[in-house]
């Protein structure tokens, strides 16, 4: 069946992009001026370590061969060691990934919880006061700097109302969720601005569509038309919109993790830049790029499965 072939062969199209990502990150670190050993080991490498690195990365050989060593190492799961943490980068990433995943998931969930009711309210009262308010808020939401919004929420909810911790990440699950509320809300407020605008527009289009009229003609109430026909049809493009914005979302987590001192991948990236821990920068950038590509890939498949019209 076509659908099956699509799911099977679509991943092959990822290959050129993944190769491109590896070339880009390889080139990134190699373009640092100076001795690559110093870059990879930091200023305090022992002679043994220097010799080992030279051998592992083939630093005495031509550049294209170095690239193949790099890919070979990658496929073995070796991205090199962090200068600061002295451990394999993949291990480091594994320790740091949970807060970032939780932050992204929480933000998406929260933004949908905000955007769907707001867009519904605006679309069903088109041209009314609620509609104008929602449009105004979502337009200004696009221009809010996330780092500043986070601090404003801290001033309001943590300092004045004392409802949430100022920063950090807890030990127990409940504690962690408690710590994640404000960071997630910060990102969700900005993300829901984009989602609300688009969702409102597609809901309005669906409300005026022929098929909504036909549903009314068979006696469905406005509420039933909305729930059963308008909502499902306008949510399909929203999946794609979320996927398109995943890069922006990851960028926001990088900033927000710094604002709220959350020990995730983003904070790791920023600290690695200051510490000149280049292999960590390389590794995290590569992980983020692969995540972006994967999410878009999954969204493609999800859209295809959710929307029977998509011809595969």
């Amino acid at each position: 069946m076509d659908r099956f072939r699509f799911v099977l062969f679509r991943p092959l199209q990822l290959l050129p992009v993944l190769i491109g990502i590896s070339i880009a990150t390889f080139a990134l670190v190699r373009s640092i001026p100076g001795d690559p050993v110093r870059v990879l080991l930091g200023p305090r490498g022992t002679p043994e370590a220097i010799a080992r690195i030279r051998q592992q990365f083939g630093l005495d050989e031509p550049l294209w061969r170095q690239y193949f060593y790099f890919v070979e190492n990658l496929l073995d799961g070796r991205m090199g060691k962090s200068i600061v943490y002295k451990i394999e980068i993949l291990d480091l990433v594994a320790r740091r990934i949970e807060p970032t995943l939780a932050l992204v998931a929480g933000s998406v969930l929260l933004s949908l919880l905000l955007a769907v009711p707001l867009a519904t309210l605006a679309a069903r009262n088109r041209g009314g006061l609620a509609d104008h308010l929602v449009r105004l808020v979502s337009t200004s939401g696009l221009g809010l700097p996330a780092f500043w919004l986070g601090l404003m929420l801290i001033i309001l909810f943590s300092i004045h109302l004392d409802l949430f911790p100022v920063a950090g990440y807890g030990e127990t699950l409940a504690d962690r969720l408690h710590h994640l509320v404000l960071p997630c809300l910060t990102i969700a407020l900005a993300l829901s601005a984009v989602l609300t605008r688009n969702l409102r527009a597609s809901m309005i289009a669906e409300l005026q569509s022929d098929q909504a009229m036909a549903a009314r003609a068979r006696g469905l109430s406005e509420g039933q038309v909305f729930r059963r026909h308008v909502l499902p049809n306008s949510l399909v493009p929203t999946i794609n919109l979320l996927a398109v914005n995943i890069g922006w979302l990851i960028g926001s987590t990088v900033v927000i993790e710094s604002v709220f001192a959350i020990p995730g991948l983003g904070q790791l990236l920023v600290r690695a830049i200051f510490a000149r821990d280049y292999l960590v920068v390389q590794g995290v950038a590569m992980i983020f790029a692969c995540a972006t590509v994967t999410v878009n890939f999954i969204a493609d498949i999800a859209t295809a499965l959710a929307d029977p019209r998509v011809r595969l």
């Binding site: 491109g20 990502i21 700097p145 995943i246």
Partner: protein, 279 residues
Amino acid sequence: MRAGSLRLPLRLGRRYPAFGLGLGVVGLWLLLALFAPLVAPFDPILQDGTIALQPPSPAHPFGTDNFGRDVLSRVIWGARIDLQIAFLGVIFPFLIGTVLGTVSGYFGGLVDTVFMRILDVVLAFPFLVLMLAIIAILGPGLASFYIAMAMVGWVSYARLIRAQVLVLRGADFIVAAKSLGFGPLRIMFRHLLPNAIAGSIVFSMSDAVLVLLNGAAVSYLGLGVQPPVAEWGVMVAEGQGFITTAWWMTTFPGLAIVTLALGFSLLADGLGDMLGVRE
């Protein structure tokens, strides 16, 4: 200055209120930036420990920071840097992306295929992450920010213009220009580009919002503009340490970013309506 040159923006403002409001807000910040030495009541980097962390008062409407610097003056001087960020951060990607996109779309074939693959790879990275990685290599600073911005930001413009060029490439007037024996350079930049550019111009306005926010965020992280220069993102970062006691240090520079960003958004919306371009 001829009287007509002032009347046009006024008339546009009346017909397109969003555009008018945006023009007003951005114009106001431009004037403040231009006349910062005259408008700002105090020196933005002069430290005076005796008046540190004072809340807003008639003498210091936005309060003072931990070094006793007047926050209002720093916000006004900051407009210079942040407007420069929005302008240069848009113009470099715009020029690079437009030229590359036009050439790639016009010639097609292998050039275009390779070009599209490069585009895919740049787009695979989260925008801010790739920028930070490039800044990591170049070292923190405003110059690094501009270079990183140019290296990452051009793809949107290239994609936009390429799509337009692909449509227009077969248009009758291009065929006519070719039949007159014009060279590819002339056809691309005198005939194709003027017809394809409207969408990019509208996009550049909404892109200015993103560039401004990115520039402020990078500076907030400590990787862009360096203290003691007054820049809004830097000021928010400096205020974070005093957030429990001096809310004004973070609030006002942030509001400055919000208003300028909103101004650009409204300009983009209005310009889109005027040129009949929807994103």
